[in-house]
């Protein structure tokens, strides 16, 4: 068998070239697919690229016979679609090629009409005509490989091993060859059920082959996705190809903007191991926490009857790992009943409010070894020779755990039942999927079932662990809608954790950008050991306090710059003592919500120094970030390549600096570029946002963009200064929480409708807040405290409105916190009043949880009205008012011992309780 695989299986012979008639054509802005004699032909539409055209053949290798399938072909030439049918005596294969974004999308359906499993390896093979020989082979992983004289390949989907868990990095589902200007790439959709894919480039033949392996059951019709792409390599060929994937099917990365918990920082055990503090969490914008192993035995997250008492593999129990909201749980003594009662009570009290993400058997991939052997033997995954299968003292810290497979097995069934039970019974708001990674093959009995993702190799039929994890995430979403999944890994999930530190430069370079390519537009965060000060500056005892301040200030900026570069939220361990790290929250979360982009198609004048840069958003909703890490301010021209940023929509973008009060920026359209002069101060994050996008704009056009902002209203004005007259459409950004109105010379127009435009025209986008019906100053000036700093705040709510009562407490928490921190003098406290005549009164904050929509406004008498529908919405709206009040009562959490910053260091430099200065980067 082994010999057969070496000699025949991987031989590149084309036994079944599919024949097509002429004149079929599918066109995207970057590439055109058409028939050419007996072949498919793709033609580059990017001028000046490194390749002109390529013949594309399809073939299907039969893994059992070791031969390519042969049969009849039939093609259909339809409008914007090419259909290729290929059939034999016991199978039928139909592939439909259409345009999807900038790429050609091939949807293949393979039906097995035989009575046995078919082991197939369909592939696309491109013979490429280059104008310049390609230099780089991208195998899907993060590092580019130089093309030499010999064939270069990637077989399978297993990359570098990740830590001790034996899982592997997965390649992005694509591969290609790139020259200096452009490249050709193949791919399939991210998170497709693919357990094996390969890519080979033969420089002698100038041939790129890309395949997937599948096992198709008798009677099964399997859908297989393909992409054919052409990407400019001016700003990174792989980056541009990844961006084309984002543009083509964004739904695989999209997370509901209204999903709870996911759009914030992590609490990093502050609410799980300690008593939760809602005011502290508001200040840290921590919306969720990692609720670590709230059960006794790996594989039994429900703590089922009959499984509680068992012989542990590695006693003693380490009690410190068992806490609910700071409560230590004596696991040796506690009975199952008492434990379940405690867990239920704590979860119902805090779980939803603090976003306790229930840690669950890693990602359903590990189970206590005795339990797995006794109850779930079919799920044991221990046959992959390239991974470890048993870990001692692993997730629960007191057992031996064995790798299990959570799809189509008895374990999967039990795990799904447990998930449903936990959501229903203890109101779990979401699940933490640790080690949500793949790269480990399961060869167990479930592979005999008709499960997704089955592939084959010399050992037989297998499924990659990643397929099971992805399907478990899908299960949670479908079984209990609204339940979120936090993943620590590259796979599916509503929020993705990058469990590393920015300061571990080598690891960062090794894992990025591949890891982030997988995360894409999803919310995500970096979660590790913070500054690792003892490691990064091991000889800190040689430093003075000033040198420490300089070093920590630079490290703080380093974290901020990397946060914007990769779009990763952080946790308090790199925020304490560094006010700027907290001050950037609003802008950062706005960018994160817009969606991180893989490619930053921006040219900068040499005089500009910005080693850190990033782009977010899409179409007319674009943000740019630049970070000058040098010591001097730099100034120069930025040229934005609109085609690449907008997916060749033809729109040209107008930018303005992203500042809290407003900004003015002169833009020039030159050809397809937007140009503006940028000033990048030393070690300051600089952001730009689109003021509008204009279609059909002439090659030369000068515009002046201005923004003016308050919490209740934002106005973006673009004045056309120089331009020939033309007809174009204007699009404006969507602003979350605002209703937009677009005006041209004062007249309301519909975005995207053709308009006659000329020099002197004024485009105005006015955004009115859906929530705030008053300017910020009114909130800041409200009489919460007397001149002497004594709290005199009055909060009114209806005595029967329990939701308002809870929200009212937030003001009490707010002022008590400030008094505790000596920002305000002690003594006064918030007065809660319920008398009907005080509702809406002057100087009174009135809370109402019965409103139809969230609203913050002034009452006729001069009171502050905060209204919202229900408990959660009202509390959220109160939080947004408190966020504004922070400006009047500024307080930033000072340096304190935490992960990566030992108390010994702070004590040595006398920095405990102190903060660095606040720079207010965006004011």
């Amino acid at each position: 068998m082994k010999k057969f695989f070496k000699t025949k299986l991987f031989a590149v012979v084309c036994g079944a070239v599919l024949c097509l008639p002429a004149y079929s054509a599918v066109t995207t802005p970057a590439i055109k697919l058409q028939s050419s004699g007996n072949n498919l032909e793709v033609i580059s539409k990017l001028p000046g690229g490194d390749w002109e055209k390529a013949s594309v053949k399809m073939d299907i290798f039969d893994g059992k016979s070791g031969k390519y399938l042969t049969g009849k072909t039939q093609t259909s030439d339809l409008q914007d679609k090419v259909i290729v049918k290929f059939s034999g005596s016991d199978y039928n294969c139909v592939t439909e090629f259409t345009a999807l974004g900038e790429m050609i999308y091939g949807k293949m359906s393979f039906t097995n009409n035989s009575k046995v499993d078919k082991w197939i390896e369909p592939g696309l093979v491109a013979g490429i005509t280059f104008t310049r020989a390609p230099e780089i082979f991208w195998d899907g992983f993060g590092k580019m490989r130089k093309i030499g004289k010999k064939p270069i390949e990637r077989k399978g989907i297993k990359g570098l091993a990740l830590a001790h868990i034996g899982a592997k990095e997965l390649p992005f589902p694509a591969a290609g060859v790139f020259g200096k200007k452009s490249g050709f790439h193949f791919g399939y959709k991210v998170f497709d059920d693919v357990s094996y894919a390969s890519a080979i480039y033969d420089p002698a033949k100038k041939e790129l082959r890309f395949t997937q392996r599948h096992v198709v059951a008798p009677g099964e019709t399997m859908n297989i996705n393909w992409f054919i792409g052409n990407a400019s390599s001016e700003f990174g060929g792989a980056e541009t190809a990844v961006q084309q994937h984002y543009n083509a099917y964004p739904e695989r990365w999209e997370v509901d903007q209204d999903a709870p918990y996911v759009w914030g920082n992590g609490a990093h055990y502050q609410t799980w191991k300690k008593k939760p503090d809602i005011e502290l969490m508001r200040r840290l914008k921590a919306t969720w926490d990692w609720a670590y192993t709230p059960y006794k035995r790996a594989g039994d997250i429900a703590c089922r009857e009959g499984l509680w008492d068992y012989k542990m593999g590695n006693p003693p129990w380490i009690t410190k790992w068992q806490r609910f909201g700071g409560k230590r749980v004596p696991m040796y003594e506690i009975s199952r009943e008492d434990y379940l009662k405690l867990r239920r009570e704590e979860y119902r009290k805090h779980g939803k409010r603090f976003g306790w993400m229930f840690y669950s058997n890693c990602a359903g991939t590990w189970c206590e070894i005795g339990l797995a052997k006794e109850r779930y033997p079919d799920a044991i995954s221990n046959q992959d020779p390239h991974a470890n299968h048993i870990l001692k003292k692993w997730s629960t810290w007191h057992d031996w755990e064995i790798r299990v497979f959570s799809m189509g097995t008895t374990f999967a069934k039990a795990f799904q039942e447990d998930i449903d039970y936990l959501v229903d019974d203890i109101k779990v708001p979401g699940f933490a999927f640790d080690c949500a990674t793949g790269g480990v093959s399961y060869y167990g009995p479930a592979t005999k079932k008709q499960l997704p993702g089955r592939a084959w190799d010399e050992k037989g039929v297998f499924i990659d662990q990643s397929v099971a994890v992805n399907h478990m995430v899908d299960y949670i979403h479908s079984s209990r809608p609204g339940t979120v999944v936090f993943s620590n890994g590259q796979l599916k999930g509503d929020h993705v954790m990058f469990e590393r530190d920015f300061v571990r430069v080598e690891e960062l370079a090794s894992m990025m950008p591949l890891y982030k390519w997988y995360i894409g537009a999803r919310p995500s965060l970096v979660y590790g050991s913070g500054f690792r000060f003892n490691d990064v500056i091991a000889n800190w005892r040689n430093m003075s306090q000033d040198e420490f301040k300089e070093a920590i200030c630079k490290l703080g900026i380093y974290e901020i710059f990397n946060q914007f570069k990769y779009g990763l939220a952080r946790t308090y361990i790199t925020q304490y003592g560094i006010p700027d790290a907290v001050d950037i929250f609003p802008e950062f979360f706005e960018l994160m919500r817009a969606g991180w982009r893989a490619s930053v198609p921006v040219k900068m004048e040499k005089s500009l120094y910005a080693p850190y840069k990033a782009a977010y958003g899409k179409n007319e909703n674009i943000y740019l970030f630049f970070g000058n890490s040098g010591t001097e301010k730099t100034t120069g021209q930025v040229s934005v390549i609109n085609d690449q940023l907008t997916g060749y929509s033809g729109d040209k973008l107008v930018f303005v600096g992203k500042k809290r009060r407003g900004h003015t920026l002169a833009n020039r359209f030159r050809g397809k570029e937007t140009r503006f002069r940028a000033t990048l101060p030393s070690r300051v994050p600089v952001l730009y946002e689109t003021a509008c996008a204009i279609s059909n704009a002439p090659d030369k056009m000068d515009l002046l963009a201005q923004s003016r902002k308050d919490i209740n209203k934002e106005t973006y004005t673009v004045t056309i200064q120089k331009s020939p007259e033309f007809t174009g459409a204007i699009k404006i950004r969507a602003r979350r929480g605002f209703d937009p109105v677009l005006k041209l010379n004062g007249n309301v127009i519909q975005p995207g409708t053709p308009q006659n435009l000329k020099a002197g025209d004024v485009i105005t986008a006015e955004y009115t807040s859906k929530v705030f019906a008053l300017p910020q100053k009114k909130i800041l000036d409200f009489p919460y405290t007397a001149k002497n700093g004594k709290v005199i705040c009055k909060v009114w709510y209806d005595a029967n409105d329990k939701d308002a009562e809870r929200a009212a407490k937030r003001f009490d928490d707010f002022f008590k916190f400030l008094q505790d921190k000596n920002v305000l003098k002690k003594g006064g406290k918030v007065q809660f009043v319920n008398a009907p005549e005080l509702r809406g009164g002057a100087g009174v904050i009135t809370l109402d949880s019965t409103a139809k929509a969230a609203k913050v406004s002034l009452t006729p008498a001069g009171g502050l009205l905060i209204a919202a529908p229900g408990e959660d919405a009202l509390e959220k709206t109160v939080s947004s008012v408190l966020d504004i009040m922070d400006k009047r009562y500024p307080y930033f959490l000072p340096f304190a011992p935490c992960g990566g910053m030992p108390g010994e260091v702070l004590k040595y430099f006398k920095m405990t309780g102190k903060t660095l200065p606040l720079n207010k980067f965006f004011d």
Binding site: V503, R504, V505, D535, R541, Y558, P902
Partner: protein, 382 residues
């Protein structure tokens, strides 16, 4: 007691080990990093102070043999991060502390360079040892004509440490192109050490030979304070021996040998028990790295002697010149004495045990000149 039946085998290399060259230290800036070379005419030892005082090269001049794989490093000079020494793949010998990631280094400064005809000493100093409130003096010494280098580590605690301090040595030599074979004197009856569960070797006691082809991380309790390595294709044994602190590591510490994936490197690690240092405490450790040029394996280290056994032949070499003396052997069958000739690095003295003592059991004890005693055990494997 039987007496003196032996013969001397002078390795072909012996003549190359003439100790005529004077010792010297040189400094070179290589890729922005200061690299010091200590040369005693037999060995050229490279040290990078900035990288935890890493021993980055041990070169046998007579054999033209490098015994550490090249350290591929760069210095990361970043606008925002402190200057960082960064390696791609780990190699060389360095001391570490519990919890320190391999990619981070302690930055030593050169405090003294001494060089004379007879020896050279490089003295390094750091105010803290991997951020702990411990100052450390690291001294590397080579003496003329010796195939060994001495490293002394002197810790001084400046305050009482909050946590017990775990010291360990990471030694990644490379004796050939293929992955080295590693030798460890172990007691397989010991199941845990310093809280660490040890690997199972079925209660065997002897010289564990790690020639396992696959990925294995092995943790074992030592019976002697040394670990050694060799390449199958070529004679010559590189040995790391703790002198000061040797008893501690044998009685309370554990040794580790591990390899990663397809890497040809084979790491050895020597872990001490956690130590609670109080303000003013001083802790001295000393280890030697010896090279026994003519040996193909190793059963024991005694002083500067390395002893191996091939069937009924005992092989004795020395990493430093030694005067003639008497070797006493003791086994279950009785005792014997052998006159040892003068030994210099590269020379191997062979004893035919059967002729000397009759049928000799697998384990015997030797007393070498200078009254150093050692056990010569059998080899074991998993």
């Amino acid at each position: 007691m039987k007496k003196l039946f032996a013969f001397v085998f002078a390795a072909a290399l012996t003549g190359l080990y003439a100790a005529g060259t004077e010792c010297r230290i040189s400094e070179n800036i290589i890729d922005k990093v200061a690299v010091y070379t200590l040369d005693n005419g037999v060995l050229q030892v490279k040290c990078i102070p900035e990288a935890s005082g890493l021993i980055s090269g041990i070169y046998s001049i007579p054999e033209k043999r490098e015994m550490i794989a090249p350290v591929r490093y760069k210095v990361i000079v970043d606008d925002l991060m402190p200057r960082r020494f960064s390696v791609k793949g780990h190699s060389g010998v360095k001391e570490l502390a519990g919890g320190v990631k391999m990619e981070f280094f302690n930055d030593y400064r050169v405090r003294k360079k001494e060089s004379s005809a007879e020896k050279c000493v490089l003295e390094l100093y750091s105010r803290s040892y991997y951020a702990r409130d411990i100052s450390v003096v690291k001294k590397i010494t080579v003496k003329r004509g010796e195939a060994l280098l001495k490293v002394s580590i002197d810790f001084t605690a400046h305050s009482t440490l909050d946590k017990a301090f775990l010291f360990w040595l990471n030694a990644i030599g490379s004796m050939g192109k293929e992955r080295d074979v590693v030798l460890i004197p172990v007691d397989g009856n010991i199941k845990t050490r310093s809280g660490k569960g040890l690997s199972e070797i079925n209660g065997k006691r002897g010289i564990f030979v790690d020639d396992l082809p696959d990925i294995h991380n092995i943790y074992l309790a030592p019976t002697a304070p040394w670990m050694a390595r060799y390449s199958k294709g070529r004679a010559g044994i590189q040995t790391v021996v703790f002198r000061k602190g040797g008893d501690d590591v044998v009685n309370k510490g554990y040794f580790s040998t591990w390899k990663h994936a397809q890497s040809p490197l084979h790491t050895i690690e020597m872990y001490f028990d956690k130590r609670q240092l109080k303000k003013g405490d001083v802790w001295n450790l000393e280890y030697d790295i010896l090279y026994f040029a003519g040996l193909r394996s190793l059963r024991a280290v005694a002083g500067n002697y390395g002893i191996d056994r091939e069937g009924n032949t005992l092989l004795i070499a020395s990493a430093a010149p030694v005067a003639p003396g008497v070797l006493k052997l003791q086994s279950g069958n009785g005792a014997a004495e052998v006159k040892l000739p003068e030994l210099t690095p590269g020379k191997v003295f062979k004893v035919d045990l059967e002729k000397l003592m009759g049928k000799v059991p697998s384990t015997l004890t030797a007393v070498l000149p200078g009254d150093v005693t050692c056990e010569i055990p059998e080899q074991i494997s998993l």
